[in-house]
């Protein structure tokens, strides 16, 4: 034996001896004790679900709330007769055999864990099931919590049971297969804030409920951290009014935003759907209803892009002014109902013609010919670059998932699509009035017009105002808001604003009806031809000013007709409502009691009388136990 093998032998002998002694102690000496522990299966960890944050409007009125729900759980190692169980569940909960087997199979290596097999069960159904629970020891009812969405909308989104792909993807973030995850909308976008962190508790009690103190552990408890609640910039009153103001039978979108902050006050997409439908099993009929041709699930504010038509004209005008091709007073080709270019005749919407116009008049009357003529002097690449700089190409970055970006072609795209010999000028003529390949989403348009109102300062549109609960974060603490300046000199901006003012206020304006006592109105109509149907899309984008800029509105209606006739009247109603209720809408509301923390009461300057202090002291412990539940 060499020296090395002697050393290795000694080391190995020591290590094996340690293992043998330890195993002897564990299995031979304490074997009976561990057998008992194993048989009674008393040492387990139970997850304590954190309470998901709720969602409120800007005056702390609820939009999404938690409500208790009755959930049915299954412990698969207690199953005695799978067939009988499956018949029972099929009868009461319409869970078919295959689905149940699949569920049991999937979690078959966690047979001690409870699987949630049905959530949010009706009270009556719960009662009828409970009568039979004696025969099915594997089933347990537990009180959980589910979401209640107070009105149909597209921004809140909804939560759902976590599915297998999501579980695989996020399992490291401590998701449970019995848990929920935000599927769309704010519920998904702010999942991390809303969710909180689940707690844990060690269960190690005997049949009489005594703690066994195994392994020297008396109790193990990790308190769940509840999710943060969201306070939105949405104003429920205004949202409600806008939803009513939008004609019932039409498809489209309506967005109202606060010009100075970029916060969205109202966010409508029609037709809409009730997110509560997703809180229960969806029947095939409801599913068909949700997928009907009008696509109620489609969020037309951000998930779809459309030809903007004439609401795009301020962009074309802006580039002409920026490049000094025209100034405020330059008149271009006289409009006689259209514009001859080569062998093609491009029509103006007004067949009688507008005559010769300058930029303000061209915007006011929405004269196409002015922009046709201007477009011939604009290089396509610069045009696209200008569209990008105006924030109409990239996503706005609104705090919702799956936003779509806009589209504007360049020469390369044309060559790829139509072949290398394509003439671009004819296409440019179409692009100049927001037709052709130009596509924008209603939210992009809203942000653009809000920026014009706000002295050219573009602010990322957003729905979140702040969080309340465990920590109080403002929107910019959660996510830095993107800001930039629209490519306007201050005199050019004034020119465009004057044009938009005349649209609503000059006798020749296309939206003369949009006037509101007590405020100055600005806007632009659009009637966009499109591939979806013969009738044009109706657009109105605009804003109002009192002593300072107030709100920007975008009204968009699919295949509804002319922007002046269809969209502008809706905008006027909303403006009227806003000015009529301006004090109520702008009033600030004190933070409700349930969101206040100890620091808030210290910070308050007003002297409190003893009664309220006592009241609070009494309240506090109660509030805390509520949280623990």
């Amino acid at each position: 034996m060499t020296k090395a093998s002697r050393i290795f032998s000694i080391f190995s002998a020591i290590l094996f001896a340690i293992l043998v002694i330890a195993l002897f102690r564990l299995q031979a000496l304490k074997g009976r004790y561990y057998q008992q522990v194993a048989e009674s299966n008393i040492f387990r960890i139970r997850r304590i679900f954190a309470t998901r944050g709720e969602i409120y409007d800007n005056k702390y009125r609820p939009i999404v709330q938690n409500i208790p729900s009755h959930d049915l759980y299954l412990t698969s190692n207690k199953i005695t007769d799978l067939k009988a169980l499956s018949r029972f569940l099929n009868l009461h909960l319409e869970i078919d055999e295959e689905e149940l087997f699949d569920l049991v199979q999937k979690q078959r290596f966690k047979t001690y864990e409870e699987i949630m097999i049905a959530d949010n069960i009706d009270y009556d159904k719960m009662l009828s099931i409970s009568e039979y629970l004696n025969y099915y020891p594997e089933l347990t009812f537990r009180i959980g919590s589910t979401r209640s969405y107070l009105y149909p909308n597209h921004f809140s989104g909804y939560v759902g049971r976590i599915n297998e792909q999501e579980y695989e993807k996020y399992r490291s973030e401590d998701y449970s297969l019995n848990g929920y995850i935000g599927k769309t909308g704010l519920e998904r976008f702010y999942e991390v804030l809303l969710r909180g962190r689940d707690g844990r508790e060690i269960v190690q009690v005997d049949a009489r409920g005594r703690s066994l103190g195994l392994f020297g552990i008396d109790e193990g408890y990790i308190k769940p951290l509840n999710g943060l609640s969201l306070v939105l910039t949405i104003d429920n009153d205004l949202q409600n009014f806008c939803a009513q103001a939008f004609p019932e039978h039409l498809r489209g979108a309506l967005v109202v935003s606060d010009v100075r902050t970029g916060g969205i006050l109202a966010y409508i997409s029609k037709p809409d759907y009730d997110p509560n439908l997703f809180m229960q099993r969806i029947s095939p009929e409801i599913w068909d209803e949700l997928n009907r041709p009008a696509k109620p699930m489609l969020d037309r504010v951000i998930h779809a892009t459309y030809p903007p038509g004439s609401v795009f004209k301020p962009i074309t005008a802006g580039l002409g002014l920026e490049k000094r091709l025209v100034n405020r007073n330059t008149r271009l080709s006289s409009c006689r109902g259209g514009f001859q270019y080569g062998n093609r005749f491009f029509r103006c919407w007004l067949h009688a013609g507008h005559g010769s116009t300058n930029v303000v008049q061209a915007l006011t009357q929405s004269c196409d010919v002015y922009f046709y003529d201007l477009s011939l002097k604009l290089p396509l690449e610069e045009f696209k670059d200008y569209v990008i700089r105006s924030g109409l190409y990239a996503k706005t970055g609104i705090d919702l998932p799956n936003e779509r970006r806009g589209f504007f072609p360049d020469a390369e795209w044309y060559k790829k699509t139509f072949g290398p010999n394509i003439g671009i000028s004819g296409h440019k003529i179409n692009l100049s009035i927001g037709q052709g390949e130009t596509l924008t989403s209603p939210i992009q348009m809203n942000a653009y017009f809000a920026a014009i109102a706000n002295g050219g300062n573009w602010i990322q549109p957003h729905l979140l105002k702040q969080t309340v609960g465990r920590s109080r974060l403002t929107v910019s603490e959660v996510q830095a808001l993107r800001r930039f300046r629209l490519p306007f000199s201050s005199s050019d901006l004034k020119t465009i604003q004057d044009g938009l003012y005349d649209v609503c206020n000059a006798p020749t304006g296309t939206a003369r009806s949009v006037q509101v006592p007590g405020a100055k109105t600005f806007g632009k109509t659009g009637s966009a031809e499109n591939s979806m149907g013969k009738t044009t899309h109706a657009w109105f984008c605009g804003y109002i000013e009192t002593d300072k800029p107030e709100i920007a509105i975008t009204v968009f209606m699919e295949n509804a007709g002319g922007g002046g006739a269809m969209a502008a009247p809706v905008a006027k109603k909303v403006f009227d409502y806003y000015i009529g209720n301006i004090e109520d809408i702008k009033r600030t509301v004190a933070l409700p009691e349930q969101f206040r923390t100890a620091e808030d009461s210290e910070e308050q300057d007003e002297p409190e009388d003893i009664e309220t202090i006592e009241h609070r002291q009494l309240d506090e412990p109660e509030a805390e136990t509520e949280e623990e539940l």
Partner: protein
């Protein structure tokens, strides 16, 4: 190909026995019975396919002519280093970048790195006329790169295995033991500083050993004072730590302090092994395997299934197999006369031995959970393949000994 007089049939037989036992345990670990319906996950036959590949690899290694085998070591090591760098950019699985996923099969480059690093180190420290310092320098130099890449994956346990194999290789390469003791002494001082009795015993042992090794008084004094200083300053550093930092360290060494986190698996594994009692619950009879281990019981916690179903008798049998297996390896270390092969064999022995001890120790609560699989038994392609190939290298050395020198 096989030289009947020299080939170590016993080692091969023990290897096959361990792999088969592994498949049987994996079958049980992935089987569950719900209301009389038995269902099994496909891990066990995947493991059998891995085993067939691995034994194909054994044949290939035995068949490859020695010169070609020797030439391939360096390129294999370099390629493996690249794989270790690339894996850092692979998507993380439970927080660590350890696996590539290629066509549904996961590959763990740190498994192959053990074998290739050992072979390369053996090559470079076995050249004639190297001073002890050079041996230490080359050995640490080569091991440092894969160890660093594996530490940042992060996978502390695996890089510890590298260090232990390196020490064994130094011993086999006749580097005086006091050098190794020198190198390890600061780490031992840190551990010994837990209790004053530990400090006293350790320091007296160190000084005694160094005196016996006939070192100069200067070296002994420096080592003694240096280590005494480390031992004495540790408690102060400890006091300087924040509570949660202290807790984190204590929990690493005693996971049961955190029963809701790291301790849960170990407590469950202990219950499983302990409840196996003397004779066990019988094959497929285990109940604790369904207690939702993470990582799952067919990989790192496979021993808990064996302990539960085969009891103390079964555990002893498995330990006996392992003991005989490692006995053959130690025997090989003594038999091999070419220094490079002897050193490589020592490295492979230490790698498999330390993994086995750490893994079983973890299953019975002796050692902190470090995510180290049990060689030949735990489910996992990379682990099975490269542990088996390592043994193949020893089989090859034994088979071809005596041809040179």
């Amino acid at each position: 190909m096989i030289n009947r007089k020299k080939f170590d049939f016993a080692l091969l037989a023990l290897l096959v026995a361990l792999v088969l036992l592994g498949c049987i345990a994996i079958y049980s670990a992935s089987t569950t019975v719900i209301s009389g319906v038995k269902s099994t996950q496909n891990h066990w036959w995947r493991q059998i396919i891995f085993a067939l590949f691995a034994f194909g690899g054994v044949a290939l290694i035995l068949w490859t002519p020695m010169p070609i085998f020797d030439i391939l070591i360096l390129p294999a090591f370099v390629a493996n280093i690249f794989a270790l760098i690339l894996v850092l950019f692979a998507p993380a699985v439970s927080g660590a970048h350890r696996w590539f996923s290629i066509g549904g099969v996961n590959f763990q480059p740190s498994e192959s790195a053990k074998l290739f690093s050992i072979l390369l180190v053996a090559r470079s420290i076995s050249r004639e006329g190297l001073s002890d310092y050079r041996k230490l320098f080359y050995g640490f130099g080569i091991m440092a790169l894969p160890m660093f890449l594996i530490v940042i994956e992060p996978d502390l346990g695996t890089s510890l295995i590298f260090l232990l194999s390196l020490m064994a290789m130094f011993i086999a390469a006749d580097v005086p033991v006091f050098y190794i003791l020198f190198i390890l002494s600061p780490a031992i001082s840190v551990i010994a500083s837990v209790h004053w009795i530990g400090i006293v015993i350790w320091l007296s042992f160190l000084v005694f050993f160094l005196i016996r090794s006939r070192l100069s008084w200067v070296a002994i004094t420096v080592a003694g004072i240096g280590n005494a200083f480390i031992s004495l300053i540790m408690p102060m550093l400890w006091m300087g730590l924040k509570d949660y930092q202290q807790n984190r360290i204590l929990t690493f060494f005693d996971p049961t302090r955190d029963p809701l986190g790291a301790g849960y698996q170990i407590i469950q594994a202990k219950i499983a092994v302990g409840s196996g009692s003397l004779i066990g619950k019988g094959w497929l009879g285990g109940t604790q395997k369904n207690m939702n281990f993470l990582p799952e019981h067919h990989t790192d916690f496979i021993f808990s299934v064996i302990g539960e179903e085969f009891g103390f008798i079964g555990s002893l049998l498995l330990l006996g197999l392992f003991a005989a297996f490692f006995g053959r390896m130690i025997h090989a270390v003594g038999e091999l006369k070419v220094l490079e092969r002897k050193v490589a064999t020592a490295g492979i022995f230490a790698y498999l031995m330390s993994q086995s001890f750490i893994n079983i120790g973890m299953n019975i609560g002796l050692v902190p959970a470090t995510g180290i699989p049990l060689p030949f038994i735990s489910y996992g392609g990379s682990n099975l393949l490269f542990s088996t190939l390592s043994v193949a290298v020893i089989l090859k050395y034994m088979n071809e000994r005596g041809f040179m020198k």
